[in-house]
């Protein structure tokens, strides 16, 4: 049962990454490349009717985490207290920026919410990468000090950073060079992803420029990926043992690299949606490869006193987990139905949907 809900949770998170990921990416593109009113409108039209539904995947992930793995939810949400609160505030600014911009026609008003939307999206992309970095690197579970745990074995607390910014320091911080590096990977990858979405959903004058941007940024991404693979062993001693034990898992890194290399052909794509497909493959492949490499651990322990948190020592009771399968199956069928309807209604290019205008 634990394994079933683990797959559900990873599935929901991967969906969130692909869907809200393009919103963040579009926000970053908006921040750096959208100069004219027409382009800004095109970008907000492209994500306007969707962002809210996309964000629900994050809430669903939170809900499933709470229900299926309550101990992990409790430990990680209190331990990562400060960054989570900041993510909440940024999500508010992102939402407000998008929703309020069109309410009053005034240059200053629009400029303020443009920046709120763009900067919040940028920082959210960075924070989510940092979050993944923290999960891979692990934390000092039980807050062990000189070999003695000062808390229950699954609780911890991390400050935003420590003075050395090192992932190997005794006292860890949320932001160190490794997690920050993954943050940068996330920003670049989501920027490419967002650009692909804009190309897919609009006829904006930016589109040809964006293809150039995707092409160049993809080189940057490739370099970042190679560097991260070469430093990964510092953080995780045997990153490949799961893959060697179970070669079927290689499907995930393969998906990731097909996505990455496929995007170099961005200028020759016939259909506007192809690029989006490839960047989704990169994101899903990269995310699932990372989680697969630490499985069944979900939060590693950096000390020798307390064991890592795995899906087996943080899960809900068996009865509760089994009964959930029934309602979850119904809910998932409904959700898929909603998505089909939604994408049918808002099919094709979105330039004229008039989002946010009253």
């Amino acid at each position: 049962m634990e394994f079933f809900w683990y797959i559900v949770l990873i599935g929901i998170l991967a969906t969130y990454l692909v869907l809200d990921g393009y919103d963040f990416g579009a926000g970053i593109i908006h921040l750096f490349f959208a100069k004219t009113e027409k382009d800004k409108k095109a970008i907000t039209n492209a994500i306007g009717p969707f962002w809210d539904a996309n964000e629900v995947w994050l809430i669903a992930a939170g809900g499933v985490l709470f229900y299926a793995f309550p101990t992990l939810y409790a430990a990680s949400f209190s331990g990562f207290y400060l960054p989570l609160m900041m993510i909440l505030w940024l999500l508010i600014f992102r939402a407000v920026g998008l929703e309020l911009r069109g309410q009053i026609h005034n240059q200053m008003w629009e400029a303020v919410w443009d920046k709120a939307f763009g900067i919040a999206s940028f920082l959210l992309a960075l924070f989510f990468g940092i979050a993944l970095g923290n999960v891979v690197r692990g934390v000092n579970l039980g807050m062990v000090n000189n070999g003695v745990a000062t808390q229950e074995p699954h609780f911890f607390f991390l400050p935003l950073w420590n003075p050395t910014f090192s992932p190997e320091a005794a006292e860890l911080g949320i932001i160190d060079w490794f997690t920050l590096f993954l943050g940068v990977v996330s920003v670049v990858a989501l920027m490419i992803h967002g650009a692909n979405w804009i190309i897919y959903k609009t006829n904006s004058s930016l589109n040809s420029q964006l293809k150039e941007v995707i092409f160049k940024m993809n080189f940057v991404l490739l370099v970042l990926v190679i560097v991260s693979l070469s430093v990964w062993h510092i953080i995780e001693k045997e990153p490949f043992h799961n893959f060697l034990d179970n070669p079927l898992l290689f499907i995930f890194p393969i998906i990731c690299f097909v996505g990455l290399f496929g995007l170099f052909k961005v200028k020759t794509f016939k259909k506007d949606g192809t690029g989006f497909l490839f960047s989704s493959m990169f994101l899903v492949g990269g995310f699932t490869s990372t989680t697969a490499s630490i499985f069944p651990v979900v939060l590693p322990s950096t000390n020798k006193v307390n064991p890592s948190l795995t899906i087996y020592n943080v899960a809900n009771g068996d009865y509760a987990l089994s009964v959930g399968v029934y309602w979850f199956a119904i809910a998932l069928a409904l959700v898929i139905g909603y998505f089909i309807i939604q994408y049918k209604v808002f099919n094709g290019k979105m330039d004229d949907v008039g989002y946010g205008e009253h």
Binding site: P49, G63, F66, A95, L100, I104, F157, N316, Q342, V345
Partner: protein, 443 residues
């Protein structure tokens, strides 16, 4: 430890109070919006469709505020109440996860269609999307109150050796005696808020002598919905809920009613008075003898237990706060019924739109259902103290062990600042929509 608990509670109280200003309008208003659209389909009178659009805009703004202030609620169980989440997540995680899967996806998928899709969808399907959003928001309320009811009156669980609560009966969560009265009470109260807002803005347009035809429509609709819902809030739902409290949380009931000493020969009902917790008495009391016994047990002379019957460590932690919250809620609820009865009476005599003082009353009554809803929730939540899970898990044992009070104070200040900004923006934008008014119908 004390200080940590104080800031954790303050932050939850502040963020939930602010959050619930929005859903309490949108749950009821979604029903009224759907009603306008339905009337349009029936009568083909364009006024009804323009009224739908107008209230849809106010709905959308409130809904967006509800969404952005709602996400912090789900996070805070883990961030500030980690011990509580760890121990009870096996049960309340279930209902909260269901809320996400069943109602948030429904609402968010169709909101965009409802707001921007009228032309693509046609009127009939536009009505259906409105109905689905209404359904989603009512389902969300249901699952939240199922969670709340479990905390008030835990059912279908067992406690393991390590203190964790695990579910052993899924159905029990939804047949909980606490659930249905609370849910219907809350939904009716939400409809009271929306009715007063719709009626109040109607009265505003009539008094302002602008958009008068819409003003009349809004006022008429508001008072009809308002009369029905404000009666349901009191009878049967409020009554059933109070009887639940008497039966399962007698100490809470004693504190709500301000009964410090057991009244053996029938209890009086206190209308006004200030509790003096130290000396265990009420100052400046106005009370009617024996009525409380009658309302509670249907018998004038039945004994009602006072706070002196219960150990002090089981007393609600804020007795005066609880007493005031309850009395304000009941007082306002009674006032609402009175005003609505009068308004419907005037409506049947075709005098409502000319009764100036009543129109002014409706204008100034708009904030009060918000106060009544808020104090109603305070009654429920303060009444549950000092427990998180009634009789089983104390609030003091539920906070996050590793989050220091300094960190919580920091984020509390952040929320206060951010929500102040959001509140101002909301006021500006809602004011703009109301000032513009519904689109006039072209002749």
């Amino acid at each position: 430890m004390e200080e940590m608990l104080f800031y954790d509670r303050m932050q939850f109280a502040f963020t939930i109070t602010f959050h619930y200003l929005f859903p309490q309008l949108t749950m009821g208003l979604s029903l009224i919006v759907v009603y306008f659209k339905w009337k349009f389909l029936k009568t083909n009178d364009p006024h009804y469709n323009k009224a739908t659009h107008f209230w849809m805009r106010i709905f959308a703004l409130n809904f967006a505020m509800g969404v952005v202030t709602g996400i912090p609620m789900e996070f805070q169980f883990g961030t500030n109440w980690a011990k509580f989440s760890e121990l009870t997540g096996g049960i309340i995680g279930q209902t909260l996860a269901m809320e996400g899967m069943f109602s948030f996806f429904l609402e968010s998928s169709f909101l965009g269609m409802f707001l921007f899709g009228e032309k693509i969808l046609g009127h009939r399907w536009h009505f259906v999307t409105g109905l689905l959003i209404c359904l989603g928001s009512w389902a969300s309320g249901f699952l939240i109150i199922a969670t709340h009811s479990w905390m008030q009156h835990p059912v279908g669980y067992e406690v393991l050796e390590n203190g964790k609560f695990v579910l052993n009966n899924f159905q029990a969560l939804f047949t909980n005696v606490w659930l249905w009265p609370s849910y219907l009470h809350n939904q009716a109260a939400s409809l009271v808020t929306s009715s007063f807002v719709v009626a109040g803005i109607g009265a505003f347009y009539i008094l302002w002598n602008k958009n008068v035809s819409y003003g009349k429509l809004f006022l008429k609709t508001g008072v009809v919905f308002g009369l029905i819902s404000s009666v349901i809030v009191a009878m049967p739902t409020g009554d059933l809920l109070a009887k639940n409290v008497v039966k399962h949380q007698p100490v809470t009931f004693a504190a709500m009613e301000g009964i410090f000493h057991t009244e053996e020969k029938g209890a009086e009902i206190v209308l006004i008075g200030q509790p003096d917790v130290k000396d265990k008495k009420l100052d400046n009391k106005i009370a009617v003898p024996n009525v409380l016994s009658f309302l509670t047990y249907g018998n004038w002379d039945t004994e009602v237990k006072g706070l002196d019957q219960f150990a002090e460590d089981r007393h609600p932690t804020n007795i005066s706060g609880l007493y005031y919250a309850y009395h304000i809620m009941v007082g306002l609820g009674t006032l609402f019924i009175g005003v609505m009865v009068l308004a419907v009476f005037q409506l049947t005599r075709k005098q409502l739109f000319q009764t100036k003082w009543l129109l002014w009353a409706f204008l100034f009554l708009m904030p009060f259902p918000y106060i009544a809803n808020t104090t109603g929730w305070y009654t429920a939540e303060l009444g549950r103290q000092p427990w998180l899970v009634y009789d089983l898990l104390r609030t003091a044992d539920g906070a996050s062990p590793t989050v220091s009070s300094g960190n919580t104070l920091f984020t509390l200040m952040g929320f206060v600042g951010l929500y102040a900004l959001l509140g101002m923006l909301f006021a500006i934008l809602v004011g703009k929509i109301i000032y513009q008014g519904p689109e006039p119908v072209k002749k």
